[in-house]
């Protein structure tokens, strides 16, 4: 856990100077089932590891349960299962990213957290509708050839 946070802080120092431009936003990227997602750091509260999740009965399988985050009860969603992919057994390196979406706090379990990127909002483009999947509707193509999908936080907690 401490390792992850230092990583983020280091990235912060690096990119601190040129982030003055208004359209630059900072995104935390993480990987789940070989897909790289980005989520705005405005939504991220913290990253925690090795937390004991209390499973809940009679809920969809992607709701892994609830955790006690310093007295606050927070539900945890597994991103893999949410996407309909198979569950990867949790290990010590499985991270829970605590997101604050509007009034709601949720934790998402991801395979691992990658880094924090400064992304110009103008470079973000929509995903072609036919290739779109539920949790993301926009993406960015980075210079190193990798692709980051942006997690649609509202969609994540929306019910239908």
């Amino acid at each position: 856990m401490s390792q992850t946070i230092t990583d983020i802080e280091r990235v912060d120092e690096f990119s601190g100077e040129d982030s003055s431009s208004g359209s630059i936003e900072r995104f935390l990227t993480f990987t789940s089932d070989n897909i790289t997602f980005g989520v705005s750091t405005n939504n991220v509260i913290e990253i925690i590891t090795s937390y004991k999740i209390r499973p809940l009965p009679m809920v969809p399988d992607y709701i892994r349960g609830i955790i006690n985050l310093r007295g606050q009860v927070v539900p945890v969603i597994d991103i893999r299962l949410r996407m309909g992919r198979p569950l990867l057994e949790y290990t010590d390196s499985t991270c829970i990213i605590i997101l604050s979406i509007g009034e709601t706090s949720v934790g998402i379990t991801v395979d691992f957290v990658a880094q924090v990127l400064d992304i110009d909002r103008e470079d973000i483009c929509p995903i072609p509708v036919s290739n779109r999947q539920e949790l993301s509707s926009s993406m960015i193509h980075l210079k190193d050839g990798s692709v980051v999908l942006f997690l649609d936080c509202e969609q994540l907690i929306r019910q239908y």
């Binding site: 209390r54 809940l56 009965p57 809920v59 955790i67 009860v73």
Partner: protein, 709 residues
């Protein structure tokens, strides 16, 4: 709206609401004796003055004006003594006062909901004024009142030719301010009065015309036609007053008239004017001078007196705290309690002999326990406020339904959690209305024939029993006709089994089914067919249970059993596999060991077990929730006989861990989407070791199990 205004508004709402509440209580008590004591009159006068003042400050005009007129009314009563009213007037006065507090409350509600206030309250104001006129005309100075009315008219006619109206042609106050209000702004006399009020605050000496603006709405026309005159002693005062007028609303124009110069040169014209004024009505100056001077004179000291007086009324040993702050405090205290046990039972300390630590830890535990008790008690309020409201309902319905009923209140000082008090108000109202409307007999003769006291009685009582508060509404009316209920239920098609299979308890429970109402007519108060089912729902939402008992011909009793607090519960911790659950102690009848042989199967193959000569279904929690690694044979685990409402069953779990007081935490709202409540999970709690235990809702577990079958 900025923050300071917001805070002001909060205080205003709080203050006004509590004033109205105490006013209501006062009125109810006063009505019992059908008389106001001198203290009552003073109290009403003070309350209205406070409401008027604070409403004016926040520019809630409708509130201000109603309060203002009632204040006038009571000013009159105070001056003349309550004995000057005959009983009919008193009755009118009571009705008017109840109506007024309702109206004020209605307006306050609008303020709370951020809705626009009513601008047209003229008819209401007229009603108050009518009563005032009625009362005052009856009394001795009725003659003076009428002459006072004619005097200004005469004066204005005479004064129109002169620069200043007759009554204001005073040598000592030569500086005149002549104010015109906006066309059609309405209630000019009140606006003028407001102006006078604000001028009075500046400590200036002045006179004004027309003088009876605060009591006589007819002066409106005079003001519209001739404007409103204010006279000052010095030019400086005039300038200051102009500033005040500048800051007021609805002023079309004003002019400053300096009579001092013309006074010396032209001493003659004003004098005839005065004479002209007095000629047609010889006693006019005296009459108009006297009443006007009296209010003006007594207004100022009254205002000064009032400030400390109203402070005295507010209890100094009470402070009002925002509920969310209190909740935050309670939440943190809950945290501290859990953290404390996390520290003291830390695995790192296992097997160590730490005498000093243990001693300090014990001290800490004692303190945290005290802290928890105190923080919980902060949320406890007495039910008297809610009960007092019922007084009012009974009073209103008594008149509307023409039934003679007295309400007896028992145990109004019983304290319950604030959230619960807020939530029982509506159910109680429905219950009392039901008792009034359906319970008490229509005809007094029916009661006399049945050998009852002609006056009906509704008893509202509250008592504590350990972890619950029991609130009951009992009436000595006609009771419930089970056959009629059954027939009605059958007509409405809400029976689920043959009518003859219904027990009395079940029939009475039918009353709380949606869409049921035994009254054939819809009345203003009840009988819309919503009511008892809403009551049931509201009560259940705060974890309570409602129960109806009734004896035909003798009366009925509705009982609410509600947990004292929602924040802390006594729970039994149990484990199933690796999971820990908490079951509210109040729902547990007993727990017992059983063997496979004790289990029998009902015709559809479900497990049931015999307890106290009756069979109860067995629900296996591990099956219901799909928990791995749990005991599967009845012999290895333990059965818990649970009962909640009308659900009674045996729950099969692995083992009992122990009884504990738990701090109930609501589940994250996000999870509500998944109907988690229907799965039998009501909330959760954090255990000493930081793990989460799920608190089961005994009734929903049963329903969930039924749905699984």
């Amino acid at each position: 709206m900025d923050n300071s205004m917001e805070g002001l508004l909060d205080t205003y709402l709080f203050e006004t609401n509590s004033l109205l509440d105490s006013l209501d209580e006062l009125l109810i008590n006063a009505e019992k004796t059908a008389d106001f004591s001198e203290d009552d009159v003073n109290e009403i006068f003070r309350s209205m003055h406070t409401i008027k003042g604070s409403s004016a400050m926040l520019e809630f005009n409708s509130l201000m004006e109603i309060a203002h007129h009632i204040e006038d009314l009571f000013f009159y009563i105070r001056e003349n003594g309550i004995d000057s009213l005959n009983s009919e007037h008193k009755k009118d006065l009571f009705n008017l006062m109840f109506k007024s507090t309702d109206k004020l409350r209605e307006e306050i509600q609008k303020v709370e909901n951020n809705e626009p206030l009513e601008d047209n309250i003229d008819s209401f104001v007229t009603e108050i004024n009518n009563l005032l006129n009625k009362i005052s005309n009856k009394t001795a100075d009725g003659a003076a009142q009428t002459t006072a009315n004619t005097a200004p008219a005469a004066g204005s006619q005479a004064g129109a030719s002169a620069a200043a109206p007759a009554p204001l042609s005073r040598a000592d106050m030569p500086y005149l301010l002549h104010v015109y209000f906006e066309d059609g702004c309405g209630m000019e006399h009140l606006r003028a009065f407001m102006l006078i009020n604000s001028l009075q605050e500046t400590d200036m000496e002045f006179a004004y015309y027309p003088e009876d603006i605060d009591t006589n709405p007819d002066t409106d026309e005079t003001i519209i036609d001739n404007g409103f005159y204010i006279a000052f002693k010095t030019e400086a005062d005039l300038e200051n007053a102009a500033k005040v007028v500048d800051g007021s609303q609805h002023i079309r124009s004003y002019e400053m008239v300096d009579n001092s110069a013309s006074e010396g040169a032209n001493e003659e014209p004003p004098a005839p004017a005065v004479q002209a004024a007095s000629a047609p009505a010889p006693d006019a100056p005296a009459a108009s001078q006297a009443p006007a001077a009296k209010p003006a004179a007594s207004q100022a000291p009254a205002a000064k007196k009032k400030a400390p007086a109203s402070h005295g009324a507010v209890k100094q040993d009470l402070i009002s705290v925002n509920l969310s702050k209190l909740d935050a405090l309670v939440a943190i205290v809950g945290e501290i309690v859990t953290t404390e046990s996390m520290v003291t039972s830390s695995p790192d300390l296992q097997g160590l002999r730490l005498d000093n630590f243990t001693k300090s830890a014990r001290q800490l535990r004692k303190l945290t326990d005290d802290l928890q008790d105190i923080s919980m008690s902060l949320r406890m309020v007495s039910v008297s406020g809610v009960f007092q409201k019922m007084n009012r309902i009974v009073r209103d319905m008594k008149q509307a339904l023409n039934k003679d009923v007295r309400l007896t209140i028992i145990g109004e000082n019983t304290e319950v959690d604030k959230t619960i008090v807020d939530n029982i108000s509506d159910p109680l109202m429905h219950m009392v209305r039901n008792a009034m409307d359906h319970g008490i007999e229509e005809n007094v003769q029916d009661r006399i024939d049945a050998g009852k006291n002609p006056q009906g009685e509704i008893i509202l009582s509250a008592t504590h029993t350990g972890s619950e508060v029991i609130i009951s509404v009992t009436d000595d009316g006609r009771g419930m006709d089970t056959q009629a209920i059954l027939a009605k239920a059958e007509r409405n098609g809400i029976l689920v089994k043959p009518p003859e299979d219904y027990s009395k308890k079940e029939i009475l429970a039918l009353l709380m089914t949606p869409g049921f109402s035994t009254n054939t007519e819809v009345t203003e108060y009840s009988g819309r067919g919503v009511g008892l089912d809403v009551v049931k729902k509201n009560v259940e939402s705060i974890g309570g249970v409602i129960n109806i008992t009734s004896e035909f011909g003798k009366g009925s009793c509705m009982t609410l059993r509600i947990p004292l607090t929602l924040a802390i519960a006594d729970g039994m911790e149990i484990s199933v596999g690796d999971s820990i659950f908490t079951i509210p102690i109040s729902d547990i009848r007993s727990s017992f060991k059983a063997s496979e042989a004790d289990i029998v199967y009902d015709p559809s193959g479900h497990e049931i077990i015999r307890r106290m000569d009756e069979f109860y279904p067995v629900i296996r929690l591990h099956e219901l929730y799909g928990i791995q690694d749990a005991c599967t044979t009845i012999d290895d685990g333990i059965l818990m006989w649970l009962e909640s409402g009308d659900k009674s069953y045996c729950l099969f779990v692995d083992k009992l861990i122990g009884e504990q007081q738990v701090v109930v935490k609501p589940l994250p709202p996000y999870l509500q989407y998944f109907n988690i409540k229907e799965a039998g999970i009501s909330s959760c709690t954090i255990l000493g070791n930081g793990n989460i235990s799920i608190i089961l809702d005994v009734a929903s577990v049963y329903n969930a199990a039924q749905n699984m079958l």
